[in-house]
Amino acid sequence: METNLLKKLKSLSMVIRSWPAGLRKFVMGLPLGAIGRVSRYVAGILLFLCLILFIIPALQRGIIHVPKPETSFGSGKESGELSRQKAELERTITRLDRKYRGLTPRSAFLVINTSGNRFYLYNNRKIYREGECSTGSYILLESENKTKWLFKTPKGRFSIQGKTTSPVWKKPDWAFVELGMTIPPENHPSRYEYGVLGDYALSLGHGYLIHGTLYKRFLGLPVTHGCVRLNDDDLEAVYRMLQVGSRVYIY
């Protein structure tokens, strides 16, 4: 019995020894009564917090009185009135439903999910094609002179501003900064890169494009500088299906 107690005390002292010096000094300096008092206060505070944060909200929900559903079939007059109201409501619902469904266009549009890096091409109110894409990486690049670029794909409603085949990439300043290179002058030949954007590009405005990629293994991951990258087949389908003015929804 005594040896058990001694063992326990020894293990406790080992635990206390492993504490930081300041904490060890504080705890060892406390008289036994003080430790009891402190633990009582801590328990009281925890109980109080539990009461305020969890028990009272649960009680609030629990005491709500929900009236029993009563049937409204009273007099014949009331029943007739109810049927008339129900029929009226059904007609209104049908009309509203038709109106709501009519809001989805029959023409082709593209939906891009930047969190999941997936795209959905719709035509005639049905998904025509879906697959992986790559969108903005959310990297905030800071240059030595404190210029900042945030590589994110904009969200909201857009429309196709223009379509091109065999697009050429005119590299912006950040393309040189992120590679640790000196920024060349505007229109310098080193700014133009051929064949990196795939066979087609569709412009969303403000420099954002939907284009192809050489880095197909990154499709499905957030790695771009804000543009939307697709694989070759998907890009071709999107290029053929969407016209200038077609809607693109990015979220």
Binding site: P57, L59, S72, L103, S115
Partner: protein
């Protein structure tokens, strides 16, 4: 008999707590009675013609469906992305201009009893228009920005190629405080590890402590605190991230209970 200062403090504290508890407990009933009398937050239902129509309890189902459609059509008028929560079909969707751009299956639903205590008129007054997101709390970032210093030369650039982390996944919990004093919580239905438990605990502690703060202010101002009923839906974490990151500013929300 001499009363110790500690005892006085304890009595004072107990009295405040009792007052707080009483005020909190009468808050739901107070709000339900007021809403059932006035017809919801929006008092657009004041016309005398329709009031008797709404008194039939049997009309609850079609009336709610009508309110939901009206709300979604109104939401379609906005150019921002909105959210529709259809608890009847267990579907949460993102919509813009009436086009559904994301659809997520709800795996579990918990609706406050408050909504069952509302009459048709109060329900319609509350849900026939989209509600706006007033505040949000989340365990995930709205924009997961990674700050990166530009490399000094090409050698440093080669050594600092960015690769996105595809393994680490933070349990997603999001709360939207909506106009009309409602709260919509999106809960990650993913793995049930200890990390998830603590995330969830901190998340609810944040929500409840803010609520408790508001309640205390109301009690100190001698007002009945506003009861905020909660709708809690469980979804896949990926869906919660997509939905949370798609909604900006005072986004609109349509709800069907």
């Amino acid at each position: 008999m001499r009363i110790r200062p500690g005892t006085i403090l304890l009595i004072f504290f107990a009295a405040i707590l009792a007052g707080y508890l009483t005020a909190c407990l009468i808050a739901p009933g107070h709000r339900i009675r007021r809403m059932n009398r006035e017809g919801g937050t929006y008092t657009l239902v004041a016309d005398a013609k329709r009031v008797p129509d709404l008194e039939f309890p049997d009309l609850a189902v079609p009336l709610r469906e009508k309110a939901f459609l009206e709300s979604r059509i109104a939401m379609a008028g906005s150019d921002s992305i909105g959210m529709s929560v259809n608890l009847r079909d267990s579907i949460l969707a993102l919509e813009i201009n009436g086009i559904i751009i994301h659809r997520a299956k709800i795996s579990d639903i918990r609706v406050d009893r408050f909504f069952s205590a509302l009459n048709n008129q109060a329900y319609e007054g509350l849900f026939s228009r989209p509600l706006a997101v007033e505040r949000e709390i989340a365990t995930i970032d709205k924009e997961p920005v990674i700050v990166q210093k530009a490399p000094r030369d090409t050698v440093e650039a080669l050594n600092s190629v960015f690769m996105p982390d595809t393994i680490r996944r933070i349990p997603a919990f999001v709360s939207f405080d909506l106009s009309g004093d409602l709260r919509l919580c999106l809960v990650d239905d993913g793995n049930r590890g200890l990390g998830r438990f603590f995330r969830k605990l901190f998340f609810y502690t944040r929500i409840r402590s803010r609520q408790a703060g508001e309640n205390i202010l109301s009690v100190l101002g001698m007002r009945v605190p506003t009861y905020t009923p909660e709708i809690r839906v469980s979804l896949a974490g990926e869906d919660i991230a997509s939905i949370f990151r798609a909604l900006y500013g005072r986004s609109l929300v349509a709800i069907l209970i």
